[in-house]
Symmetry: C2
Subunit: 125 residues, 2 copies
């Protein structure tokens, strides 16, 4: 019964996961087409096979053309990656990370408002 902690997705893994998150369960060809960039078909296939071994995706093999699905929800993976970066590069300081995130890309006024709401919720609790 495989129930090991999932490994951190690599850059290649993430480019595939992004497609699965946005489009839902997909075939290799669909993913490959969406990834119009330089990678060949068999490269995408190989990556998906490895990701299956790692547990990052699951696949339906009942038909000849396999169908892949992301094993974890987008938010769950994002949370893991943020937590990882927090430990490795920010000494655990969420504040510093937030600062850099806000200054590295100009957030819109709506986004800032949204973040304020989140802060309110966190202080209430």
């Amino acid at each position: 019964m495989e129930n090991l902690p999932l490994p951190r997705p690599t850059d290649g893994d993430l480019s595939i996961l992004r497609v699965l998150w946005s489009d839902g369960a997909s075939t290799v060809r669909e993913i490959h087409d969406k990834l119009n960039g330089g990678t060949g078909y068999t490269t995408v296939l190989k990556l998906l096979q490895i990701m299956t071994d790692k547990g990052l995706v699951t696949r339906d093999v009942s038909a000849r053309t396999h169908i892949y699905t992301a094993a974890l929800a987008e938010e769950q993976t994002q949370r893991q990656l943020v937590s990882d970066l927090l430990d490795k590069a920010f000494g655990g300081s969420a504040e510093k990370l937030v600062m850099q995130a806000l200054s590295s890309k100009k957030a819109s006024r709506e986004e800032l408002q949204q973040i304020r709401k989140l802060l309110d919720q966190m202080e209430e609790k």
Copy 2:
């Protein structure tokens, strides 16, 4: 005249950079001692030599015992890493990243206050 874009530091690189950022210019031995974890002396040395080639650190070779310094300031590297993660896993949405950062680790009341100040500053401008 090497002036190429610096590569993204690996996990090993970051563990060393953290020491250099907090303690300033250091020798291999000092870094190795601070990294009390399982890595051997020559491993740290090798990593530093590679990091020198990559341009992540510079070294003073005038004495027998070399002295290493981080090439980039902590904030600069952090900004790069955040921007990287933003592209690769968040579709460029700084808001989502901030949300995850705040929820993945409970921020203190002071930190939340600090973030509010930052939001104020960003809205003024």
